[in-house]
Structures are given as structure tokens and as C-alpha cells.
């Protein structure tokens, strides 16, 4: 199982991992032989980076949930560029439900109910996407664009109507799990545990979702059917798999992941909603799907990488946590936009096949027509 999982993880891109490995080896060598400039930098990485793990996980969580939604949809052959819209909608619904239910049932329960409603809302909107792209056979990119526009307009409309004028405020943030102090003081592993476990319920459930989906996708009847439908729907249909049903189910269940990611923004990361607050997370999620080569664990790894890049633009601003030496000055002088651009740039590079080509499922984005001969 582990070997299998590592194999899938490595599938991000063998060459990309080779490059990463060389960098890590060089860094280790630099530390051991005390190379000037680099030595100080490595010390900085060891001492200053672990405390930022928690921030990285928080940045990565919505990206990873968006990516899981993307994997679910695209593995069954439905492209969903509307994930951004799904997340915006569910973020707003979670906020609204929490705000209205807060005085009635108490804050933690209201927030949890908000998450439930958010997931439902996202699944409903996904149903629209499924209907348009599977039954109506409308262009899936257009259908996704419809969802983005409707979500942007709808949330802003009701936000002004219900929230801005009445001064409605959100519920408390969902509580984080507190883990024993003894565990967190273990060198290097401690901060990692803290980062993964000292989170709210949604961020903590992420790792379960990722591993579970990875196993299900490659080791279950459902996963086999999903992949068959995504690669060659005609063949799947011939052996009696209901292509439409598999696609509907995947798109709607994928919507649940997007819903969790959206709800995370307004119940765990903050307790407020702003228009357009997703700010492209759904699109970075799409990038993570491609970078992770359409596997849940690969997408999760990509999300962590993108999350690390995004958190870097925050932590590098703080003088005390800025890296030392000339190299450090160089890194700290980089504009924040540089880190914002990186995920998109890296995805373009991967798509262009410069560092290992990314190949989508063969029937990705093509509506299935039972009657067609091809």
C-alpha cells in the first residue's frame, strides 16, 4: 500500500521530483560542509520554516478541496471550471447559515450546520453543472462559466441585501483541536503534527478525504468505473456501466468537496464573508489537479506546494522570519506578486511539457452521446 501510494505521489512528475531531490541533497551538503551563505540559509530553513507549517496547511486546505472536486469530475470525464463558483457559494451559505442559526442553536453547532448547508448548496449547484454538461450536452466550459457568473452575482446580491444592510455578523470560528504539548516539542516532527492536527474539523478531515479518495479511485469498483468512464465511455457503456449515472454521481459528490473547501473559508479561516473572497482558489485547485496528474494524493501534494508558496509571501514579509544572508535578502526582496504568480506559471510549464507532460483522462470534457458511433 505504501509503495503504491508513494508511486502515485511521485507521479506528479518524476523529473520534477528529481530536481527537488537534487536541491534537497545540495542543501544537506551545504549544511554538512558549512558552505558560506547557503549554510545560514539552511539553518534558517530548519529553525524558521517549521512554525509556518500550520499556515501552509491553512493555505493548502481550500486548494486541496477544490482539487479533490476537480479530480472527481475530471476522472469521470467532466471538466469543471466552475469550482471557484461552487466555493464562493458555499462560503457564503456557510456564513449565512451560521449567522442566522447562531442565536438559535449556539455557535459551534451553528457553524457545523452552516458547513452542512454549504455542502448541500455546492452539491445543488454541481447538479446544475452535471445536468448542463451531461444531459443537455452543453459545452462544459460554458457551463462552468455560468456557475462562476451566477455564484459571483448571487453571493454579492444577497450579501448586500441580507448582510451589509443589517450588519449580520458571523458565528465563532470552529474550534481547533488542541494536541498535547509533549507531542509538539519533538524536533521537526512536532511542528508537523501541530500543523496537521491543530486545525479545525474541516482541515483535519482533508487528509482523510485525500487518502480515502486515493484508495477508492484506484482500488474500488467505483474507482474503476469512474476511470473507465473518463477514459473510454463507449467501452464502459458496452460492459453495462451507466455512463450518465457515474458522471452525475461524481460531479455532485465532487461538489461536496468544493463545499467543504468553501465552508472552510468562512467557518475556520475567518468568520466573515467578503464579495469574491475565494480570489482564485478554485482555479489554483484546477492547477493542482493538473500538477498532481489527476490523482488525489498528487493534487494534495501540489496544493501543499502552492500553499507553501502562498504562505511564503506572508512570512517573508516579517523581518524576524526573513532568511539571512545575500540569498535571504534576494528572496525577501521578491514582490508578493511573484509568489502569487508561481502556481499559475508552474502549471503552464507542466502543461507545456517542459518538465514532464501532464496528460488528462482521454474523455475529459467530451459529452457522451449514447447514440453516436465514434
Amino acid at each position: 500500500m505504501t509503495a503504491f501510494a508513494i508511486g502515485r505521489f511521485a507521479s506528479i512528475s518524476y523529473r520534477a521530483w528529481a530536481v527537488l531531490g537534487v536541491i534537497v541533497l545540495l542543501a544537506l551538503a551545504a549544511m554538512l560542509f558549512n558552505v558560506p551563505y547557503l549554510g545560514g540559509f539552511v539553518d534558517w530553513v530548519i529553525n524558521r520554516v517549521p512554525p509556518t507549517f500550520s499556515l501552509i496547511v491553512q493555505y493548502a486546505t481550500p486548494i486541496a478541496f477544490a482539487a479533490l472536486c476537480g479530480v472527481m469530475c475530471e476522472r469521470s470525464g467532466v471538466v469543471n471550471i466552475g469550482i471557484e463558483g461552487l466555493m464562493l457559494t458555499s462560503a457564503f451559505v456557510a456564513f449565512l447559515a451560521g449567522a442566522y442559526l447562531g442565536p438559535v442553536v449556539g455557535t459551534p453547532w451553528a457553524a457545523l450546520l452552516g458547513v452542512g448547508f454549504a455542502v448541500l448548496a455546492s452539491m445543488l449547484l454541481s447538479l446544475l453543472h452535471a445536468w448542463l454538461s451531461i444531459t443537455i450536452k452543453a459545452d462544459q466550459v460554458i457551463s462552468g462559466a455560468v456557475i462562476i457568473i451566477l455564484a459571483a452575482g448571487g453571493t454579492a446580491f444577497f450579501n448586500q441585501l441580507l448582510v451589509s444592510t443589517s450588519g449580520l455578523s458571523g458565528t465563532l470560528i470552529l474550534p481547533h483541536l488542541s494536541i498535547p504539548r509533549e507531542l509538539t516539542t519533538i524536533p521537526f516532527v512536532g511542528p508537523l503534527l501541530l500543523a496537521l492536527l491543530n486545525q479545525g474539523p474541516i482541515a483535519m478531515s482533508l487528509i482523510v478525504c485525500v487518502v480515502g479518495l486515493q484508495i477508492l479511485l484506484f482500488r474500488s469498483r467505483w474507482g474503476l468505473r469512474t476511470r473507465a468512464v473518463g477514459e473510454h465511455p463507449k467501452a464502459a457503456d458496452t460492459v453495462g456501466i451507466d455512463v450518465y449515472w457515474v458522471r452525475y454521481r461524481n460531479v455532485v459528490l465532487g461538489g461536496a468537496f468544493a463545499g467543504l473547501g468553501g465552508a472552510f473559508l468562512t467557518t475556520e479561516l475567518s468568520n466573515s464573508f467578503q464579495d469574491g473572497m475565494t480570489g482564485g482558489v478554485g482555479f489554483i485547485g484546477l492547477a493542482a489537479v493538473i500538477f498532481g496528474r489527476w490523482t488525489p494524493i498528487g493534487a494534495f501534494g501540489a496544493a501543499l506546494l502552492f500553499g507553501a508558496v502562498q504562505s511564503a509571501q506572508l512570512t517573508l514579509r516579517i523581518p524576524s522570519s526573513a532568511p539571512p544572508g545575500e540569498l535571504g535578502e534576494l528572496v525577501a526582496a521578491l514582490p508578493p506578486e511573484f509568489f502569487g504568480i508561481l502556481p499559475y506559471l508552474v502549471t503552464i510549464v507542466v502543461l507545456a511539457g517542459v518538465v514532464g507532460r501532464a496528460i488528462p483522462p482521454a474523455a475529459d470534457g467530451i459529452p457522451y452521446d449514447k447514440e453516436s458511433r465514434s
Binding site: 466550459v141 460554458i142 455560468v146 451566477l150 452575482g153 446580491f157 514582490p335
Partner: protein, 400 residues
């Protein structure tokens, strides 16, 4: 080789669903009108709802008429009580030149981004990158325009617009080349490039090219010679709309009256057949994306030289993204795009007036646009509801 790989990579644009499908021009117009009407009806339902949700509000079924009237007041007509606003209004006319100017100014970038998306559709390409191409055009044109010291009007403006076109063309060439040479799908690369453009230009307008004298971060104002003037007294309309309509006519001519246009449409209809006919799909792909990018770039230039006069670092605009809806509603036809852009321009320009008069959030316009796009995308459903199609299907089943 690459075209096969691209097709195998999925997500190819199906021309028959995008370009209005089967049926004559009249039928297409009918289906499109139904989509627009349905979108406005959903908007009406939301207006009634929003009236009821406001403090002390009730269900008022007359409110949509009041609201849409306010919208038309703001976009086209002479508002009652604001008779002095426009020239025609003073003479007791119907059309308000000031409001009309705002509408045309709002339509100008929509026409250009709509053309950028529609032009891609014709070659079977989905250009979601109009947003980034628009931003590049706005940035390049205002930056060049700011440096043309002492150059008189038509020359300076022309050079600045050309710079905008080149900027947009660059942002169209990249996804085109990646698609043609590396098989990277243009939908994903253009989405990514939109963000690269927005963030990269924000950095440039914030740092290296920031106007040191400005209170908020933006590039320097353009020189007077580069400003697109407003030819009509009392109307804010600038020359951009003339440029936009001119480009629309040029695109129509290119697409339907030249060999290149025929080749582009052939690649869109069937890249494999096009190859057997001696057309090089890769070249056409790159050329189409570059030209499409330059169109969105001109849109950015028109907005930059006519309205903003500089490039603000936090440029919150959705003209590029709205271009997708415009192109679809216009059936990817240049003249259809102009019509759709005028409709969306009316909605955009009038939304403010509607919000002032009826307290309905301005964002309802976005919902109405989304619903119109939804009904266009689901037009199969509308077609089934139309009597002629029903009759035809009945005879078909009877014959079978």
C-alpha cells in the same frame, strides 16, 4: 501530430452547439430572444424577492417594471426630473445623450472582448484569456500613451492603441503557441495567464511604473494627445465605440470574405479535414489566438485611453470574463457580438440608476447575465419547446 494529441486531450469546442446550431437566422434570433427574456424574467423574480427582503418591504409585483424602467432611464432614456441632463432631453426628446454615451462606453470594451472570444470559437478555440489580454492592452496602451510627450492627437492615440493591440496579441500568442506546438489546452493556459497578467501588471503598476505623484498606486496619466476625445457635446461617449464597431466589421470581412477566414472556419469545423485540404491547423491556431488577443488588447486600450487614462494597480474589471457571455449570446458572429455587447452595456450603464431609485443591489445585473448565458447554454431545451421543432420531431418519429 499536435492536433491529434490536442483532440485526444479532450475539451474541443463543438462548433454546432456554439455557433447557434442548426436553423436559420430568424430561428437563432428567436431562440436568443427567448434566452434574454427568460434571463430578465428571473431577474424580475429576484427584484420582487429583494423588495420583500428589504427592511419594511413587502411583495410588490409591480416592482420589476419600476426597476427595469429605472434601468432604462439610466442607460438610454430621459429620466423624469432630470430633464436638463442631456441635449435631447431639453427638447422633450426620448433618448438621453449623456446616458446613451455611458451605455456606448460600457459596450465598447465588451464588443472587443466579445470579438476576442468569438473569433477563437470560429477556429474551435475557447479563449477564456480575454481578461488577461484586455489587461495587457490597457497597460501597454496607457504606458505608451503616457510617454508620447508632445505628439498630437490622432497619431499619439493611434500609436497607443497599436501598443494595446500588440500587448493583447502577445497574451494571445502564448496560449496559441503552447496549444499548437505543445498540445497544452488553451482553456487551462488562458485561465492561468489571466492571473499571471493581473498579478504581474499589479506589480508593475505598483513598483517600477508607479506614478510617484499619485495618491493611490497607478501608472502615470496618458498625454493629452493619446486621450480618446468625446466628439459630442454633453455626451461622455468617446471614439472607442467607433473603433470597436470598425473592428467588428473588419473581423466580419476577415472571417467571411477572405481565404484566411475560410481557413480559420474550416479548422474550427474539422481540423482533420482542414489538414487534408492543405490548411496548416497549427499556424491557424497561433494566428487566431494572436489576433483574438489583439482584439481584447484594443478593448483594453479603448478603456484605458477613453475612461481610466492610466492603469490602476488594483484594476477591478471583468470586461474580459463578460466577453465570454457576449460572444455566446452573439452566436460568435461579429454583428451578433455588437448587439449582445450593446445589451450588456445597457444593463451595466443602467444598473446604477436602478440601485439609486429602487435600492436593488447592482449585482442583479451579473445574475441576469449569468441566467441569459445559462439559457443560451441550455438552448436545446428552448428548441424542444418551440412548436416547429416539436412538429419536426413528431414527423421524424412517425416516419421511423
Amino acid at each position: 501530430m499536435t492536433t491529434e494529441r490536442g483532440a485526444a486531450g479532450g475539451m474541443s469546442v463543438d462548433p454546432t452547439t456554439l455557433l447557434g446550431g442548426s436553423g436559420g437566422l430568424g430561428r437563432q434570433a428567436l431562440v436568443t430572444s427567448i434566452a434574454v427574456l427568460a434571463g430578465l424574467l428571473v431577474g424580475a423574480a429576484l427584484i420582487i424577492l429583494s423588495g420583500a427582503l428589504q427592511p419594511g418591504g413587502t411583495l410588490d409585483f409591480g416592482l420589476p417594471l419600476v426597476a427595469y424602467r429605472a434601468l432604462l432611464d439610466g442607460a438610454l432614456l430621459c429620466e423624469e426630473g432630470f430633464q436638463e441632463a442631456g441635449i435631447l432631453c431639453e427638447e422633450g426628446g426620448i433618448l438621453d445623450l449623456r446616458a446613451l454615451g455611458n451605455t456606448l462606453n460600457a459596450s465598447t470594451p465588451l464588443i472587443m472582448t466579445g470579438l476576442a472570444v468569438a473569433f477563437g470559437f470560429r477556429a474551435g478555440l475557447f479563449n477564456i484569456g480575454a481578461q488577461g489580454q484586455f489587461l495587457l492592452g490597457a497597460f501597454a496602451s496607457t504606458l505608451i500613451g503616457a510617454n508620447l510627450v508632445g505628439v498630437p492627437f490622432p497619431t499619439a492615440a493611434a500609436i497607443a492603441i497599436l501598443a494595446g493591440a500588440l500587448g493583447g496579441a502577445l497574451w494571445g500568442f502564448i496560449p496559441g503557441a503552447l496549444k499548437a506546438w505543445r498540445g497544452a489546452h488553451e482553456v487551462v493556459t488562458t485561465i492561468m495567464l489571466n492571473f499571471v497578467a493581473a498579478l504581474g501588471l499589479r506589480y508593475l503598476a505598483n513598483g517600477p511604473f508607479r506614478d510617484p505623484g499619485a495618491t493611490f498606486s497607478r501608472t502615470p496619466d496618458i498625454q493629452p494627445g493619446a486621450v480618446l476625445p468625446t466628439p459630442i457635446d454633453g455626451s461622455p461617449m468617446h471614439w472607442g465605440i467607433v473603433v470597436a464597431v470598425g473592428v467588428a466589421v473588419a473581423v466580419w470581412f476577415l472571417l467571411f470574405k477572405t481565404t484566411l477566414g475560410f481557413e480559420i472556419r474550416t479548422v474550427g469545423a474539422n481540423p482533420f479535414a482542414a489538414r487534408y485540404a492543405g490548411i496548416r491547423p497549427r499556424l491557424i491556431t497561433i494566428l487566431t489566438m494572436t489576433l483574438a488577443g489583439s482584439m481584447a488588447g484594443v478593448g483594453g486600450a479603448a478603456e484605458g485611453l477613453g475612461i481610466t487614462k492610466n492603469y490602476p494597480a488594483e484594476y477591478g474589471t471583468s470586461y474580459g470574463f463578460d466577453g465570454i457571455a457576449v460572444a455566446l449570446l452573439g452566436r460568435a458572429h461579429p454583428f451578433g457580438v455588437v448587439g449582445a455587447a450593446l445589451l450588456f452595456g445597457v444593463l451595466r450603464a443602467g444598473a446604477g440608476s436602478m440601485q439609486r431609485q429602487t435600492d436593488i443591489p447592482i449585482d442583479i445585473i451579473t445574475i441576469v447575465q449569468g441566467m441569459i448565458l445559462l439559457f443560451v447554454a441550455a438552448e436545446v431545451v428552448i428548441r424542444r419547446l418551440l412548436p416547429a421543432a416539436r412538429a419536426r420531431r413528431a414527423t421524424a418519429t412517425a416516419a421511423a
